[in-house]
Amino acid sequence: MTSLFEEITETSVDIPVRRVTITVNGEKRSANVEPRLLLAHLLRQGFKLTGTHTGCDTTNCGACTVLVDGRPAKSCTMLAVQADGRDVMTVEGLATASELHPIQEGFKEEHGLQCGYCTPGMMLAAKALLDENPDPTEDEVRWALSGNLCRCTGYQNIVKSVLWAAEKMRNSAG
């Protein structure tokens, strides 16, 4: 228990909650949640990982994209209870303490972001792609990112960012 007490409010009584344990960015974290709580909200409000953004409510924009067991998922379209026992990676898990992930570097290097709102989701969708396909074509990048909307960049630099990262990752792997 991280706090010495939990305030009992009138809303917190009699509402059934479930205990979930999720490995978030490598760290096991548990919480009692109402079944209706969306995974995006647990990450943001519960775990204070506000890098996961919510944009559209209808599973179109992809701003809330995280990796669930390594595959990209729109976390506003998953219940937190569904993530119980799973491994979730958010944007906060991309960099290590000392080093940015090449995808993060690529986005900065190739000006792949402007307002930054879609960026976490874009980068995680890109990571899922590069994990599967380390040497994608431009079209493959565009296709893989077509579940994520960006209103600022026009995508061209996002594509370049991902290709930049792919090259760097190939070079450091080889």
Binding site: I15, P16, R18, E34, P35, R36, L38, D57, T58, T59, N60, G62, T65, R71, P72, A73, K74, C76, T77, M78, L79, V81, Q82, D84, A125, A128, W143, A144, L145, S146, G147, N148
Partner: protein, 291 residues
Amino acid sequence: MYPSRFRYESPTSIEEAISLLEEGKGEAKVLAGGQSLVPMLKLRFASPELLVDINNIADLDYHRFDADGSLHIGALCRHEHLEKSADISARQPTIAAAAPLVADPIVRTRGTFVGSVCHADPQGDWASCMVALDGYIVAQGPNGRRNIPVRSFVSGPFQNVLAYNELAVEAVIPAPQGTALGGYMKLERRVGDFATAAVAVAVDMSGGKVTRAGIALTGVGGTTVDASDAAAALVGGSLDEASIAQAAELAASVAQPRSDHRGSASYKRHIISTFTARLLGSISESNERAA
């Protein structure tokens, strides 16, 4: 957008899931991929009392070709597994063509084939493939399993014939009668859009003749439209310009499109005819190349 309250259960066996559905007395919903259901919960278009999450049931995430050539798709097989399957790509061209056109790449990592057919959205891509391929759903209830041909499975927009205590555990596509050819063509205004109109074609051929055919239409009726006359007209003959044109015309004639912001009814009908002809044309070409 926040869902209403509901009770949530995550059974680990089909039997447990069925008894929960039984308990739900019709006020329960099954959660598989959740890519249609969760948005509906958020928009409060759906407010079930009980949500039965089947994701923790082992052994439902599969697709396989049985020895007899039939294709079996488990209730937790995700769209992307079909999209990326070498088997599917080699042996089931209609499914292979449709898989990358379902929703968007991220939705495809979670959304399921069977869930999509159960959702019975007239705009759904998979229901058309199932109809074109004479597929059926395997439903399991307290009294065992039954097979429900997809044509009688969907009973209306967003409605299926599953009893409240039945779970769709598998979709089955029967073995082809000859070489399985086919395709799926979808007019969408952008990735992830619902079809303005789409056509699924599945043609089995043997010795230059059509042995079996199915044509189904997406987004041009209250449910998936079975263009059975168009398909029947192809059986027994070869695919040539005249038979293709006839099938395209017959397919368009059974479409029942509505005019909306995706296009006028007459345009959608025209697209059905155009896409049917294009699909059959390329099937004919690929069959000739193979011959």
